[in-house]
């Protein structure tokens, strides 16, 4: 019981991975909406407040997930293949009886009789038995499961011969979409839209059904276990951190794939270079392969996001700034990038008010947590080379 007189539960701290999962969803979709079709207009009443301000009040009933106008099939749909599951995959799924395996970017899903299993680069999740289907549209179609990485497994209306998903192609040009009708009248679907219009064709008849993502059950509790490619079970082992980081990227879309090196052919061969902020509100793990770097963001020590390098800061520096944290609530500015340790032996960053930190240097990379939240132009950097000579001293941005 609290001060309100109602038996309300105490508030919980928002787990970093939940925060990041929602954040990715919201921020990945928000720009798409800006460029997307016009949304249902909200009724707004203008009320003059006593203080002279104006507030636009929205009233109940207009809680409208986006209406997606049926359009032509999306060109960003990615390849999905299916077939008999490999014995090794069945073994990973605790021997779950399955006759169909669907391979999608970053994951495979095994389908059984009311059971499902998702295999990603570092994790295997088996659904609970007896999960209740969620009908949508006029009830002829249903959602059977939503995997922990957001893939919806559904059942199409009886007799469906083809399925298309309509959305606005222009707004999701960089977001791969999974949409595939499978044998047995099942389908898999993953988009970043809050709502999709699915068209099911049977003979000359096409029926449409609107699927609102918010109505799809969140990932049902599934027995999940880590399966590390390294063979080592310690999730904090650097190799496992790298693997989990790439798993995030492989399964998350990726929403923003720009920046991946042309040579990238998978997570094999990438190594940890430097890690800062493992015990802080924010941090970064820099990974490298040859001369390429990538950046795994951490929140409260948990890997939450993946970034290919994005050129930041001013040109002409003796290092390349490739990552800047965008987590102001952490009270930290997290900076990381690529550097030649043969040329640069020390990097010092100073913010307004005397905030100061020396970067950790790893193999071909650096990272630093600077106390305070600053814009790049407000940060000065001092790069020291071998022999103590100052290679650069001045603003970062």
């Amino acid at each position: 019981m609290n001060d309100t007189g109602l038996p309300l539960p105490p508030r919980r701290a928002l787990p970093p991975d939940v925060r990041e999962r929602m954040r990715r969803r919201v921020l990945a979709e928000a720009p798409a909406r800006r460029r997307g079709p016009v949304v249902v207009a909200a009724a707004a009443a203008v009320v003059l407040l006593a203080g002279g301000g104006v507030v636009y009040l929205t009233r109940g009933g207009e809680s409208d997930p986006e209406v997606v106008t049926p359009a032509r099939p999306d060109p960003t749909k990615v390849a999905t293949t299916y077939g008999k599951p490999a014995d090794s995959d069945v073994a990973k799924c605790d021997g779950m009886a399955s006759t169909l395996s669907v391979t999608m970017p970053g994951r495979r899903i095994l389908l059984g009789d009311g059971r499902f299993c998702e295999i990603t680069y570092t994790r295997v999740s088996v659904s609970k038995a007896g999960v209740e289907p969620t009908p949508f549209g006029d009830g002829g179609a249903a959602v059977l499961w939503k995997s922990p990485t957001g893939v919806v497994v559904g059942r199409a209306p009886q007799g469906t011969e083809a399925m298309t998903v309509a959305s606005n192609p222009a707004s999701i040009s960089d977001v791969p979409k999974i949409a595939e009708l499978l044998p047995g009248g099942l389908f898999v679907l993953r988009t970043v839209y809050p709502a999709d219009v699915l068209s099911f064709r049977s003979g000359d008849t096409t029926t449409t059904a609107r699927l609102v993502e918010a109505d799809v059950p969140a990932p049902e509790p599934a027995a999940s276990k880590d399966v590390w490619p390294s063979g080592m079970n310690d999730p904090t082992h650097p190799d496992n951190l790298v693997a989990r980081c790439f798993d995030l990227w492989l399964t998350d879309g990726p929403p923003f794939p720009r920046g991946a090196p042309a040579s990238f052919d998978g997570p094999t061969g990438w190594q940890p270079s430097v890690l800062v902020g493992k015990a802080d509100a924010a941090g970064v793990l820099v990974v490298y392969r040859d001369s390429d770097t990538a950046y795994c963001g951490l929140r409260d020590g948990v890997l939450t996001d993946f970034h290919w390098p994005t050129a930041r800061g001013r040109s002409g520096l003796p290092f390349t700034l490739g990552f800047v944290s965008d987590a102001p609530e952490s009270g930290l500015t997290v900076l990381a990038g690529a550097v030649n340790p043969k040329a640069v032996t020390r990097l010092e960053f100073t913010g307004p008010g005397g905030a100061h930190a020396e970067a950790e240097l790893g193999v071909g990379a650096f990272a630093v947590n600077l106390p305070g939240v600053f814009g790049l132009p407000d940060i000065t950097v001092k790069a020291v080379g071998r022999g103590g000579d100052v290679l650069y001293e001045g603003p970062l941005g």
Partner: protein, 188 residues
């Protein structure tokens, strides 16, 4: 990565809201995600649904950012109101939400992140009982209850976002309390 220049200056919600760009919206999300997530749980008694509802609330906020001027320079009352509208509109129209209110969950997506103590199920049961009682209130009282009693917002902020005088909100809360008292007693 969002380029967020000039982050040294602390901004109010209203300033960020008025700016209306992606970086400003991201900052608003970081400020209020936890509060909205907790409020969403209190409105649905399901952490899994709370996650969906929180995402939908912020997406709605993004969509309507140019239609809405914040009250008292805080986005939270309006976000709470949006969450309430969503919970009672699109979510509630679905049978799934009704089922959620009826059943006591044995699992939830958040279990990976929180210690699952034995009394949490009892807490969920009591919260569901309260939500059922709140759902039976007239809309005007329900809105006030959700913002002030469940969301624990100051009456003044709730009044502002509802466009009412504070005295009106207080009287609605008072009437609602009387109706809810029996439910609260029964759930103890």
């Amino acid at each position: 990565m969002v380029d967020r220049p000039d982050t040294t200056i602390a901004r109010t919600d209203g300033q960020l809201w008025a700016r209306g760009d992606e970086a400003a919206f991201a900052e608003l999300y970081d400020r209020h995600a936890e509060a909205v997530w907790n409020h969403a749980y209190r409105l649905t008694a399901s952490w899994a649904t709370a996650e969906d509802l929180t995402s939908s609330t912020f997406l709605t906020a993004w969509r309507r950012r140019h239609e809405v001027t914040l009250v008292r320079d805080s986005a939270l009352p309006w976000l709470f109101q949006v969450a309430g509208n969503l919970a009672h509109g699109e979510f509630r129209r679905r049978t799934r939400f009704r089922r959620l209110l009826r059943r006591v969950p044995v699992d939830d997506a958040v279990h990976d992140h929180a210690d699952h103590v034995a009394d949490s199920l009892d807490g969920d049961r009591r919260l569901r009982a309260v939500l059922r009682a709140v759902a039976m209130l007239p809309v005007s009282e329900r809105e006030a209850v959700e913002l002030v009693l469940i969301g624990e917002l100051p009456v003044a902020e709730a009044a502002a976002v509802l466009g009412l005088a504070e005295s009106s909100v207080r009287s609605r809360i008072s009437r609602a309390r009387s109706k809810l008292r029996l439910t609260v007693e029964e759930t103890r």
